[in-house]
Amino acid sequence: MTDLSNSKPETGAFFPRDRLWHPPGLTPGYKTSVLRSPQKALLSLDGTVSEITGPVFGHSILGELDNDLIHNFAKSGESAIGERLVVHGRVLDERGRPVPGALLEFWQANAGGRYRHKKETYLAPLDPNFGGCGRTITDANGHYAFRTVKPGPYPWPNGVNDWRPAHIHFSVFGHGFAQRLITQMYFEGDPMIWKCPIVQTIPDKAAIEQLVAALDWGNTIPMDARAYKFDIVLRGRRSTLFENRMEGN
């Protein structure tokens, strides 16, 4: 598969997940979690080869427009309606090291807050030129970028008047299956972030702020698109220098 770097592959187990930083399973303010959250204690397991390894995706899976949501579903010569954006950033691990070769998949509502999905009932219209999905793979420095339009906020059935702030969903693969992560990106300055029951599942304000992308004026493309910078941090892994050796080694 793809050669990610010249350095030796790492085989250390991942740092334990800080489960006080992540949202707990049971968050009654987000009603659907009540019947879908495990109630028994998790079985803690220091990573075996099954967890420290993970799939690798080569650039060969990518199409030319995969990282351009403005055009990847649009008819030829047309483009999606909405505020044009470049979203970019880095995938790092908890040690601050870049994660090259990380597959990122993202999905979002259109500029009016409507998803292209058969279970979606919001009255805002579909945009015939907007599908709402894209993907890319980080480069050797862990950097990624894609074009899109700014998603609209939308109402959802939870409380009688709950709205999601504008957001983009991200799915991230690192180098080990234990790093698998899904999260959401929010936009700097949006007052609706602090009213959202899904955002509020995260107990720590600093953890929420880490999911808010900054308006990146420096990388804004004049007469074209504003830039937002969104870095994603995956679990770090232990150095194997002083690991217990397997018997016989």
């Binding site: 740092f15 659907t32 019947l35 879908r36 799939p55 999905w107 279970k119 599908g131 397997m246």
Partner: protein
């Protein structure tokens, strides 16, 4: 004061939400023409080594209702117990088997289904062999952080009995929640999010 260790915090998880299919299986979500195929939809080809098996089941909530909007990913070793990953240092895995699959649960029945191969045995951290198993990762609306578990094989009683991970389960009555019922080459593995039969989930 002491020196800072300089570590970053892992980005907090957020639910995959009801529209996860748009992002991860767009063709399944009727968004055609963006990707040729949905990633992880096919795990084996004609040249893949090993015994063909089918794994199917459902993900059930606290009332026993199947989730019709969940998404499952699996990760497994090849037929000789090797993972197709740069972090696998014991040898080279079957080039015709990536070992990773992705399947949404059916929109009406809640069923998932993987066509794959039976994995070989891989070692635990201390070198003892683990029983053949497949790692599962489950996300859905209402699940705030992806759930990790493992599926073991009902027709591997001897290997299961000496598996160092299964041995860690204190309440032995819960061990069967990780063991798929065998019926020829088909294995049935239901995942219970809550209740008396709650699946053992892992903090890996």
């Amino acid at each position: 004061m002491v020196q800072s260790l300089g570590f970053l915090k892992e980005s907090a998880s957020q639910t995959a939400g009801p529209y996860v299919h748009i992002g991860l299986t767009p063709n399944f979500a009727s968004i055609g023409g963006v990707y040729e195929t949905d990633l992880g939809a096919t795990m084996v080809n004609d040249k893949t080594l090993g015994r063909r098996i089918t794994i199917s089941g459902r993900v059930l909530d606290g009332t026993g209702t199947p989730l019709r909007d969940a998404l499952i990913e699996i990760w497994q070793a090849d037929a000789s117990g090797l993972y197709n990953s740069p972090s696998e240092l014991r040898g080279s895995a079957d080039p015709n088997f990536a070992g990773w699959g992705r399947c949404p649960t059916h929109g009406e029945t809640g069923e998932y289904r993987f066509e794959t191969i039976k994995p070989g045995r891989a070692p635990f951290r201390d070198g003892r062999l683990m029983a053949p198993h497949i790692s599962f990762w489950i996300v859905a609306r209402g699940i705030n952080l992806g759930l990790n578990t493992r599926m073991y094989f009902g027709d591997e009683e001897t290997a299961n009995a000496e598996d160092p991970v299964l041995a860690r389960i204190e309440h032995r009555i819960r061990v069967p929640t990780l063991i798929a019922a065998a019926n020829g080459d088909t294995y049935r593995f239901d995942i219970h999010l809550q209740g008396e039969k709650e699946t053992v989930f892992f903090d890996i």
